[in-house]
């Protein structure tokens, strides 16, 4: 019985939250990796682009709520996301036309494009803060829990409760659906294949008659979809605050590089690697050992490897180690 309790404990505090957080990071990491693989620059505006998409989701959610439209148990935001995506794609294409295109056509070095993306970051951040303000916003409505801890305890008669938030399940389902669709697109369709070819070897791809303008446009469209959904899911699960989104850029970068930059599947797994290591290393295992070990060996301290303050530092340390020992990432991306 104690063993079951211990497993439920880990599921409740580590596995489920890490899976949800990892999915949110994974979407962002695929976004970063696509831009890097196809447009060939490190996009420092990642976090702010995600907050931009989320902002539109929130605005549409409010609008629908004011009209009295809702999805019952599901959050209204789900209905708002498609509309937000349209605006987001428009914004992305607009930025590309007025900012990035010039440097791409001139074949500027990647560093210059990265600098330009910092300019975009400043502007996007300003626009988000001017439109919706810098404060914390929750836009979740509908049913909050799928299983509540108390109900679970009653059902199974265990000591430990398992609480599953509906946003966590929603995040995981949406991520899986989106990522499968994306991989199907990249691997099976002609456009997807030409995108991969372009990312692999630009000159060769151009020689074989691939239209770069189309590739770039489709990349921005996919990026817009990923950024909006990733941002909205994070906002639903936690809350929306522009500054947090800006900071999320860092673990997202870490995930993309750990997975091997330019490799979407690596980025997807990288998100989970980062999320799980962050939570595994900062969780206090005291209660777990109390269940597993006999009473005489119970630990005194919290049995915490690192304090939760170092959550971000964990992912960055992983990144540094990966960069040192396997510069192409765990799943073989582009060679750095």
């Amino acid at each position: 019985m104690d063993l079951v309790n211990a497993i439920i404990l880990l599921l409740n505090y580590i596995f489920v939250p890490a899976l949800a957080y990892g999915s949110q990071l994974a979407l962002g990491a695929i976004f970063v990796t696509l831009i890097y693989g196809i447009l060939r620059f490190a996009n420092f505006a990642t976090g702010d682009m995600m907050s931009f998409g989320t902002m539109f989701t929130i605005l549409f959610t409010w609008y629908f709520q004011s009209l009295g439209i809702s999805l019952g148990v599901l959050p209204t935001a789900l209905l708002a996301i498609p509309f937000a995506i349209i605006f987001m794609i428009g914004y992305m294409l607009l930025i590309d036309k007025f900012v990035f295109k010039y440097y791409r056509v001139n074949k500027s070095p990647p560093v210059q494009l990265a600098m330009v993306s910092i300019g975009v970051m400043f502007v996007t951040q300003a626009v988000v803060r001017i439109i919706i303000g810098p404060s914390d916003r929750r836009f979740f409505d509908g049913e909050k829990f799928i299983i509540k801890a108390g109900e679970f305890k009653e059902m199974t008669g265990l000591n430990e409760g398992l609480a599953i938030k509906s946003t966590q399940v929603l995040t995981i389902i949406v991520t899986m659906a989106l990522v499968s669709a994306l991989f199907w697109f990249l691997n099976k369709t002609k456009t997807g294949k030409s995108m991969r070819a372009y990312s692999d070897n630009e000159d060769l791809a151009l020689l074989s008659g691939i239209d770069p303008k189309k590739i770039v446009m489709i990349t921005w469209i996919i990026a817009g979809i990923l950024a909006t959904i990733g941002g909205a899911l994070y906002g639903l699960d936690k809350s929306f605050k522009p500054f947090t989104y800006f900071n999320n850029m860092l673990p997202i970068f870490a995930a993309a590089i750990v997975g091997g930059i330019g490799n979407p599947f690596g980025a997807f797994l990288g998100g989970y690697v980062i999320a799980f290591s962050e939570i595994l290393l900062t969780y206090a295992y005291r209660k777990f050992f109390m269940y597993v070990l006999p009473e005489t060996m119970e630990p005194d301290g919290l049995v915490q490897l690192l304090s939760t303050d170092y959550k971000f530092a964990v992912s960055f340390s992983i990144l540094v180690i990966v960069l040192l020992y396997r510069p192409s990432g765990i799943f073989k991306g582009k060679i750095l």
Binding site: V99, P110, V120, V123
Partner: protein
């Protein structure tokens, strides 16, 4: 003279703007802008050495700034005797353990060939080391943090004059840069950017949460000053006489004695804070001028030529027998050390150390905007960038407010759009920075004062 006309013109405009602020807003504001401009200029000189001279991207400026600030705390605060006796020995022992760990790792690295076994040995040493250090330091840290947590709760510093921290800050930042450079300099440019950005976040995380060393988010306030205190000044005779002399024309207009005295008091209070700021300005100006002379000398020296050669064509420089790796490391350390000085100066001026205030927007990306806008590779350009961008950063709110009022003049004062826009005026600075950066990158990619190298 002719050649430098644009430099002189740009600087005159800049000084003119600051003087205008002094006349129209107040001299206090103008001087505080000027002081921060000088600190920004030191930071941009550091970043410019790395980016402009050598083409190295360093997005870790925030980390070095914070380390410089930490140096200011560790140098100037008086040591907390109780804390030292409570947990000092544990901390010192942990320090020895860390040194031992590093030595052991180095020994293994030298002794064994590169192999899997070596990696495992190193990993074991590090993991075992970290566990022992935690066991040793934990009771010490707890004891230290329990010593009067409302006021101290940390080890304190050395109790020396705070000016020394400017040098120590440079050493700290340079030391960190040496370690980072060893690890990360082999990476390609944009990876180096990401890696340094992440490492600087780790530095901030450590400074924020190691309370025994830095007091963390509880902040350290009331640091020593290199300049006199306003309150003391207001009671010294020579200062009151000075103010009286300065303001005599205005004071003579008032005939009533008590009113005259009240006006004088008011002038003395205003004057004291201006005087303190002037003291800082003098100190900072000395640092800026010394650094400017040194960096200019370096830029035109054979070493500077070599750096430019490495920047423009690494392979060719390598083929000519220049040690690119070593030079990159050297310039990385030098630039970071300069940023460290700026970090210590900043804390000196504020008189307080707030780890929570170090954010990448303000301390990394803004500095980069300064370098790019001012003109990378040109020291005068970088300094001008520091001045211009900081000036805009501060004055963006008033300008934004003015623009909002202008564009929404037709609307009612309570109109929701107008109210909303006026509330969001503080964020117009981000917009201005972003648009400024994008415009400069597009139409003047070399910055306001572009790099101009003449062979003498």
């Amino acid at each position: 003279m002719r050649k430098n006309l644009n430099v002189i013109a740009a600087y005159s405009i800049m000084m003119g703007l600051i003087i205008l602020v002094g006349i129209f807003q107040s001299w206090n504001i103008a001087l505080s802008i000027f002081n921060l401009c000088l600190i920004s200029a030191v930071m941009t000189m550091g970043a410019n050495i790395q980016w402009g001279y050598a083409g190295l991207i360093n997005f870790g400026i925030m980390g070095y700034t914070a380390l410089g600030g930490l140096a200011a705390v560790l140098i100037s605060v008086n040591p907390v005797q109780e804390a030292w006796s409570a947990g000092g020995s544990n901390i010192l022992f942990s320090l020895f353990l860390i040194i031992g760990m590093v030595v052991a790792v180095r020994y293994v690295l030298k002794k064994y060939e590169n192999s899997k076994i070596r990696t495992y040995i190193i990993a074991t040493i590090i993991i075992l080391g970290i566990i022992t250090i935690r066991f040793v330091s934990e009771p010490g840290i707890e004891a230290i943090e329990e010593v009067d947590p409302a006021k101290t709760g940390f080890l304190g510093g050395l109790g020396l004059p705070i000016i020394f921290s400017w040098i120590v800050g440079a050493l700290f930042a340079g030391g960190l840069a040496f370690v980072i450079g060893k690890v990360a300099l082999g990476l390609r440019a944009d990876y180096l950017a990401i890696a340094t950005l992440l490492i600087s976040e780790i530095v901030i995380a450590i400074i924020k949460h190691e309370d025994w060393l830095t007091r963390g988010v509880k902040n350290v306030i009331g640091l020593k000053r290199p300049a006199p205190y306003e309150v003391n000044l207001q009671q010294t005779d020579w200062f009151i006489n000075l103010v009286e002399k300065f303001k005599s024309s205005k004071l003579n207009l008032i005939s009533d004695i008590t009113e005259r005295q009240a006006a004088l008091n008011q002038f003395v209070i205003e004057g004291s804070s201006v005087f303190v700021k002037l003291c800082y300005s003098g100190l900072f100006l000395v640092v800026v001028i010394i650094l400017l002379i040194l960096t200019q000398k370096a830029l035109y020296s054979p070493w500077g030529r070599m750096m430019r050669a490495i920047r423009d064509n690494e392979e060719a420089a390598n083929a000519m027998g220049k040690n690119v790796v070593k030079q990159h490391l050297l310039i990385f350390v030098l630039g970071s050390a300069i940023v460290g000085i700026a970090g210590a100066m900043l804390v000196t001026q504020d008189g307080l150390f707030t780890p929570g205030s170090y954010r990448p927007m303000r301390y990394t990306f803004l500095i980069w905007v300064m370098v790019i806008v001012g003109g990378s590779g040109n020291n005068f350009g970088a300094i001008l960038g520091g001045f211009a961008v900081w000036f805009l950063w501060i004055e963006a709110a008033p300008i934004g407010l003015y623009l909002v009022n202008l564009t929404t003049a037709g609307l009612d004062d309570t109109h929701f759009l107008k109210v909303h826009l006026i509330e969001s005026v503080p964020y117009f600075r981000f917009l201005m920075m972003g648009i400024g950066l994008l415009l400069i990158m597009r139409y003047r990619p070399k910055g306001i004062l572009p790099e101009k190298i003449e062979i003498k």
